[in-house]
Amino acid sequence: MATEHSKASARIMIAPAVFVLLVWMLVPLCMTLYFSFADYRPLRATFDAWIGFDNYVSFLTSDSFISSVIVTLQMVAGILVITIGGGIALALLLDQPMFGQGIVRILVIAPFFVMPTVSALVWKNMFFNADNGLFSYLWKFFGAQPYDFLSQAPLFSIIVIVAWQWLPFSTLILLTAVQSLSSEQLEAAEMDGAPGYSRFWYIILPHLSRAITVVILIQTIFLLSIFAEIFVTTNGAFGTRTLTYLVYQRVLESQNIGLGSAGGIVAVILANIVAIFLMRIVGKNLDT
């Protein structure tokens, strides 16, 4: 139905958005790619434009890379387990008839809107602190030794902080999915005498599977880039250095631009592997 005229205008209307995103994506990425093949250390005034794959080899074979990948995987997996498990439980709970449903919903969603630096600092000081943190009082109350979370269990502590921030996200999306489940189906199963857990296992969970996949993919993409929470709690120490953080340190702290850029490209490739799966699901949905 669209005329040639409106098609031409449409192209002009889309152009600015496409143009700025194209520049935004291509220019810096090409620069990173270029630096990743160079020996570039500004602090030592070293610049050698082409050293082949040396940066990639030394980045990929370094112990810090291997350990950063392990830390990243542990962190992402830990957060996903908590947010998906907790999210399903909370979504089913919030779907039940109750008084003050709206208020409970608001309480549950709130952490998502807290800025990362605030939540990291609040948890670090007011909960995890060995001298004055609330957990220390709790531990003492039960007669246990106060525990210095961020130095004794730093990875776990960061997982708790980030999971707290992301639990609302998974809960909200899973709740949306739960609410689209037809109650007739559940009632029929109930009348047929299906016990609670098999109703959950055979009806609810399969219905949620798509939403769960989406949550996993979206969270993974965001979680691969966790930064502020590490920055203000451990600054990458005590085995909490993720791939993102390692690249950040190589580039901005030790100013080894070549090596850091190679790391950046590696991070881009890893993120893209996850992104492809997400895009497929989103793309399929676009057709319907």
């Binding site: 958005a17 990425l29 203000v232 850091g260 991070a267 949905n285």
Partner: protein
């Protein structure tokens, strides 16, 4: 849901849900309470709950610190500025894709989305370099532009899903009546699109307000928003819990309120329509 529910069961769910709701909300509640305590009370052992001398001295103290008002102003300028700039670029694009879809519309949308998945560290140094080259390090304009670019795919995507729900027949009717493209947008589409645009703005202000990678790395003082300002508390001196709490509450309160209003849009905006 027409099922009859026994009051006892409903009561049980209520208690359970409120318990977990309050548990999850607790860190925010505790920060709120602590922000009204004197510093010595804030670290009292055992912890004090509600019965203390409520004071607003922490808020006065934080607001009196030289750079808090500046950080607040920076946050507002950066979040609102980047969102509005994004809207200006995204509205025409989303409109065109929703109402004059071409063969490649879907590809363009998917490609835009893929830029959102680019990890920030992949472009870290070039951006620092570009910012230094144009002499815009630690400036608001730099962050307005960068946060706009980061959120542009979400803005386009959300607007697109809203615009697609507007029935095309109305536009056709307007076209039959001889409305020009410009008039069509201004008089027909815009009034219908306002709710969608408003919730897109809301969600993106929230996302920009809380962005904590580029804001931390690309600012020092003069353009530092609240994310950066708060992170300066990570190496504190002396008693500071109550002041940290006050600063935190002020940083999150406006967004918390906006967030509660935009919870429905949140699902739509962050899943790119994959969950409805």
């Amino acid at each position: 849901m027409a099922r009859a529910i026994s009051p006892r069961k409903k009561m049980m769910w209520t208690v359970l849900a409120w318990f977990f709701g309050l548990l999850i909300f607790f860190p925010i509640l505790w920060t709120f309470l602590t922000s009204f305590k004197a510093e010595a009370v804030a670290i009292a052992d055992p912890p004090v709950w509600f019965f203390f001398d409520w004071t607003t001295e922490n808020y006065t103290a934080v607001l009196g610190r030289s750079n808090y008002p500046l950080a607040l102003m920076n946050s507002i300028v950066i979040a609102v500025g980047s969102t509005l700039l994004g809207i200006i670029i995204a509205v025409p694009a989303a409109w065109a894709m929703a109402f004059v879809p071409g063969r490649r519309t879907k590809d363009v949308l998917m490609w835009m989305l893929s830029t959102k998945m680019l990890p920030a560290v992949g472009v870290l140094y070039p951006l620092v370099l570009i910012a230094k080259y144009f002499n815009v390090m630690d400036s608001r304009i730099l962050l307005v532009v960068i946060l706009m670019l980061i959120n542009l795919p979400i803005i386009v995507w959300m607007l697109y899903t809203y615009f697609r729900e507007i029935p095309g027949e109305i536009l056709e009717a307007a076209r039959m009546d001889g409305a020009s493209l410009r008039n069509e947008i201004i008089y027909v589409l815009t009034p219908m699109a306002v709710p969608g645009i408003a919730s897109t703005i809301l969600l993106n202000i929230i996302l920009a307000w809380n962005e904590a990678f580029w804001t931390i790395i690309l600012t020092t003082v003069s353009a530092a928003p609240l994310t950066k300002f708060i992170s300066s508390f990570s190496a504190p001196e002396g008693l500071f819990y109550a002041k940290l709490s006050a600063a935190s509450i002020m940083a999150i309160a406006p967004i918390l309120v906006m967030g509660w209003f935009s919870q429905k849009q949140l699902v739509r905006g962050l899943t790119f329509g994959a969950v409805k």
